[in-house]
């Protein structure tokens, strides 16, 4: 309980900080006043149309990645699992890349996120068809790896065939993941999917706890594994698909956050779900603030920063794990 309170306070503080950081160089008091003031001045516009959606998306996407990561690790009983494992982020990225390549993204603002959502949905349908209705967690991973590999290959093909370096550049930059220049439209597009996904994932706690003892024991304790798997895949698809659609691929959050927080919740898979959601929101908010503070003029990408933070942290965890095993 204390952990959840602490994490909530951290998320709230980082959210406010995120609202206050930007190139416009406005004082904190002034910014917050403008956010709540009803006037149609330029300051209010900056706060409401640029900074608020950015901070909201950071919370939504970070929370989603943390929650989905904790659910995936719990289901697969593997601390190295991450939300992209079932092919969602790969196929969403491919959908988005196609939209950029065909010019649809330039013609119609929402074409890119919608194409990404369609890609995520199709990718996961293929994964579920490959894994079969009664398959084990291993078949799910294999199907996910196969679809991820195919999506990555097709994305490379599109890059290969891109008509000019600018188009290729645009695709690569999009794939790095960013929250810059997103609008409230993006928030409203992603939010319904994310809410559905959060609901699906939040109902998995009991089953994930039971899975601590293995699939056979969990099933004998009354857990319907097929329902659990559908809930997991559906939930991860909704939250990660929507997140990738509006912000590109942001890696390492779903992998590292549950891993860091696990000792804090006594390794309970169900308690880890919400702790990871808050932890993920905090990490993405912090990374997105860092993006704007470190190199404000160079448009540093969010996915790059989470990877730079995440990878060494991950190495540290591996070293710790190795010491424990001896």
């Amino acid at each position: 309980m204390r952990l959840l309170t602490g994490l909530s306070v951290m998320v709230a503080l980082l959210f406010v900080a995120s609202l206050l950081v930007g190139p416009a160089g406005i004082g904190p008091g002034e910014s917050l006043a403008a956010l709540f003031a009803g006037d149609r001045g330029p300051l209010t516009l900056v706060m409401r149309e640029i900074r608020l959606p950015r901070a909201m998306l950071a919370v939504m996407i970070g929370g989603s990645l943390g929650l989905a990561g904790a659910a995936m690790q719990g289901y697969l009983r593997n601390p190295l699992a991450e939300p992209g494992l079932i092919g969602v982020s790969g196929s969403a990225a491919f959908g988005a890349v196609l939209a950029i390549h065909t010019g649809a993204a330039a013609a119609f603002a929402l074409a890119l996120p919608v194409a990404a959502l369609v890609g995520a949905g199709l990718g996961v349908l293929i994964v579920m068809a490959l894994a079969g209705p009664r398959g084990t967690s291993l078949t799910l991973i294999l199907a996910g790896v196969a679809v991820s590999a195919l999506a990555a290959a097709l994305t490379s093909l599109v890059l290969n065939l891109s008509p000019n370096p600018f188009a290729a550049n645009e695709i690569i930059f999009w794939m790095l993941g960013s929250l810059a220049d997103r609008s409230m439209t993006h928030v409203w597009l992603a939010l319904p999917f994310m809410v559905i996904g959060w609901l699906l994932l939040s109902r998995l706690g009991r089953g994930l706890d039971a899975l601590t003892l293995g699939e056979d024991a969990a099933q004998a304790m009354g857990i319907r594994l097929q329902h659990l798997r559908l809930g997991l895949v559906g939930g991860v698809t909704c939250v990660v698909g929507a997140g990738t659609a509006v912000a590109g691929a942001i890696g390492f959050v779903g992998l590292v956050v549950p891993h860091i927080l696990r000792p804090w919740v006594g390794a309970h898979p169900s308690r880890l779900l919400w702790a990871s959601a808050l932890g993920g929101a905090a990490m993405v908010l912090a990374a997105d603030i860092a993006v704007r503070m470190i190199l404000p003029e160079r448009d540093l990408k969010l996915g790059v920063v989470t990877a730079i933070i995440g990878a060494p942290l991950f190495l540290h965890l591996i070293l710790k794990l190795r010491q424990e095993r001896i």
């Binding site: 601590t212 003892l213 293995g214 056979d216 004998a220 304790m221 009354g222 169900s270």
Partner: protein, 252 residues
Amino acid sequence: MTLLSVSDLSVSLHGREVLRDVSFEIGTQELVGLIGPNGAGKTTLMRAALGLLPFEGRSTIAAMPEDARAKHAAWLPQAREIAWPVTVETVVMLGRIPHVSSVQKPTEADRAAVDEALAQMDLADMRQRPATQLSGGEQARVLIARTIAQQTDLLMADEPVAGLDPAHQIATMQSFKALTAKGKSCLVSLHDLGLAARHCTRIIMLGQGGLVADGAPSQVLTEARVAEIFGIAAWYQDTDQGPIFQPLDVVR
């Protein structure tokens, strides 16, 4: 009262028939040992009876809805899996999952069930230790305690005493016996025929793709049957200190 009734149960795995037409019933206050050589289908029989495997025939508990079955029969799989470094107490509390909406909010009754199970398996002083740091035998006891905490009428365990030291093997069998005194029953697969002969009220012997014998230990563990099914010669005697079964030699 019948706690489990299996009739004409047949199982085929990977196109090979593992069990054919197995029928038996388990009433109250029975400690049933399920014996048979490797590959005789002990695990398959128990998993099919629970409805964890597709099968032909009838099993009363496989026909139950999942939630009701989980309150009626507990299952200890052979693979001793504890995926996360949770405490011993937490693992045992997982046995309460069929009774609660979330193990995060246990009631007094749940705590009492966990305390009792921990005491029975001699684990009370390691309840706060991470279960993954215990030895294999200790983990096995933790997982047995989990099934006991489930407080079901029927407990099915797949080789529960494998890997335990002699004292804890005997203590575990006595714990199962103590459950039968409360009107419950246990179906336990065993490789240690001596342990089965001494502690079980009844033995079911599997072999040659089906049920070979079902009855009191002295009736099931005959010289001829043990030689035919297990390929061993053995010494069996009812002594003042209870029945003693000791395998002696391989006969084929």
